[in-house]
């Protein structure tokens, strides 16, 4: 799905004393199958942008086009396009309401009007994708599961709709380091398996560096930077100007450079950092 965002403005509670501008003229285009990270300070408009793309908010001015259809309209055509977008809010486990894991995951597919056999098939597939053992869990009450398991059930409920675009808003918030790593690895494999567009919203730049090929930096409701992950996240000055601090890898390499080492600082992943340092080490001991 092609997503076009044109000069998008959004004001919360307009014409009241509590009016607050969340988006202030954002324009961008997301192509099918892209893996995009959206980063920015708290209040920079990330979550608002996500809801705009999913057609859950009507823009104040400007528009969002999903394959050419205006996203938020109440027409059948717009609804059909919106159904191709899966959005996981922060702490998605809070939206769980059904009595069994099966029914919870089946809620979305059933709303799509699928046959019951297809629904069951998708539930099984989605639970497998999030790494839950369905033989044990499928008839359990979701509220009796652990926090991490509930999150996975909620994400399965969204995956089971087989969206063309998956938007994840801080998917790892509140998980332990191991849960984070595991979930991120899975998110990557979902994208690889289905070829969907992946939009990852996070202020953990290290997580975005691992998953995204393109990064959009938001500041004060505007697009401050939009480009390949290495160019945006490797530019600590740019990040600082938008109120973020550089990823740990970049900070480490910058410290080395200040100490007189000949290293590039735009290396994001741990293995790239190791390679950079060992090269510099060899150059040093060689000379």
């Amino acid at each position: 799905m092609l997503i076009q965002i044109e000069n998008l403005h959004y004001i919360y509670a307009p014409r009241t004393p509590l009016a607050r501008t969340a988006l202030d003229g954002a324009s961008l285009e997301l192509r099918p199958g892209e893996r995009v990270g959206i980063v920015g300070q708290t209040g920079s408009g990330k979550s608002t942008l996500a809801q705009q793309i999913a057609g859950l908010l009507a823009p104040t001015t400007g528009r969002v086009l999903l394959d050419g259809t205006v996203a938020h309209k109440r027409t059948p055509a717009a609804r059909a396009q919106r159904r191709r977008i899966g959005l996981a809010f922060q702490h998605p486990e809070q939206q769980i309401f059904e009595q069994t894991v099966f029914k919870e995951v089946a809620f979305g597919p059933r709303n799509l009007g699928l046959a019951e056999s297809e629904v069951a098939e998708r539930v099984r597939w989605a639970l497998e994708m999030v790494g839950l053992d369905q033989a044990v869990l499928i008839e359990r009450v979701p509220f009796a599961l652990s926090g991490g398991e509930m999150r996975r059930v909620a994400l399965a409920g969204i995956l089971a709709m087989r969206p063309d675009v998956l938007i994840l808003d801080e998917p790892t918030a509140g998980l332990d380091p191991r849960g984070r790593r595991d979930l991120l690895a899975r998110v990557g494999s979902w994208q690889a398996e289905t070829g969907m567009t992946l939009i990852l919203i996070s202020h953990h730049l290290d997580e975005v560096a691992r998953l995204a090929e393109r990064v959009i930096l938001l500041a004060h409701g505007q697009v401050a930077a939009d480009g390949p992950t290495r160019l945006v996240l490797g530019d600590s000055q740019l990040l600082r100007s938008a109120g973020l601090s550089a990823p740990q890898s970049v900070a480490l390499l910058e410290a080395l450079r200040t100490a007189g080492w000949q290293v590039r600082t735009d290396r994001l992943l741990p293995e790239q950092v190791v390679a950079e340092i060992s090269q510099a080490w060899r150059r040093r001991s060689g000379s």
Binding site: T16, Q94, N111
Partner: protein
């Protein structure tokens, strides 16, 4: 929630914000009762002037304040037509068995005016008084009931906590309903029974979260040594200043003047 809701508090430093909540609640009660005692045009105009003056003192956004009236639009419309059709009088126009009377129009308009004033005064009170202050004011005003073993303090506490969580739950309902819409939930079609059932995906999560919050709050209060003791002291005590006395005198004088004019017309 794109307007100033009745019941929304906005922190500011206006003279009305600084007033003692007991005065404000007493005055608001007076301003809500007065329209029902006033029957002359002059009295009504003076009342509107009084409320406008209060709104100016609160530095409230006039348009947003007026828009809170929309929340009772249907009630006002109903009241208007009720009085419009049930008030006997001289018909102005008769058309197909229905006659419009001047008395009916006047009675209907009076009802609408009273309801609107009621809503605006209530909005102005909550706009300038934080929920905590409101609860403290209530506690102080109903304090004498403690003598007859009515649990005023406890009820004030319950009220404070409930008011504190209203915006939280509004925000939560909004997020959850969006999350379920993103999963294809439809809250806008079907018959009444079906619509009610469609709300289950919103209400179950909200109840779960409410119970969790209640438990956390109870633990937090317990950890801070909260007891429902009879003689609790508090950090912020209500105290009357000269501005409160002036406001009290002014509102009393204005009220008596309006009532007096009613008598002497």
């Amino acid at each position: 929630m794109n307007l100033l809701l009745p019941g929304m508090y906005v922190a500011a430093a206006s003279p009305l914000h600084r007033l003692d909540p007991r005065i404000k609640m007493g005055a608001a009660l007076g301003l809500m009762v007065l329209p029902f005692a006033v029957h002359t045009l002059l009295g009504s105009v003076l009342l509107v002037a009084l409320v406008t003056a209060a709104a100016l003192l609160a530095r409230a956004p006039m348009l947003a304040l007026l828009r809170t009236v929309l929340s009772v639009f249907w009630l006002a419309l109903l009241m208007f037509f009720f009085y419009f059709f049930t008030t006997p009088g001289q018909p102005l126009i008769t058309w197909g068995g229905i006659s419009i009377t001047a008395e009916g129009l006047a009675a209907g308009a009076t009802q609408v005016y009273r309801i609107c004033l009621l809503v605006i005064v209530a909005s102005l009170l909550t706009y300038t008084t934080s929920p905590t202050q409101l609860a403290h004011g209530l506690e102080a005003l109903f304090g004498p009931l403690e003598r007859v073993r009515f649990p005023v303090r406890e009820i004030a506490l319950v009220l404070t906590i409930a008011l504190r969580f209203v915006p939280t739950f509004f925000a939560e309902i909004e997020i959850i309903s969006k999350a379920q819409q993103a999963r294809g939930a439809d809250f806008y079609s079907g018959g009444p029974l079906r619509r009610l059932r469609n709300l289950v995906p919103i209400f179950v999560p909200i109840f779960v979260s409410a119970l969790r919050r209640a438990e956390e709050l109870a633990t937090a209060m317990d950890a801070r040594g909260f007891r429902s003791a009879p003689h609790r002291t508090r950090l912020y005590r209500l105290s009357m200043g000269w501005n409160d006395l002036v406001a009290c005198a002014a509102i009393l004088a204005a009220g008596l003047l309006i009532l007096g004019l009613e008598r002497w017309r």
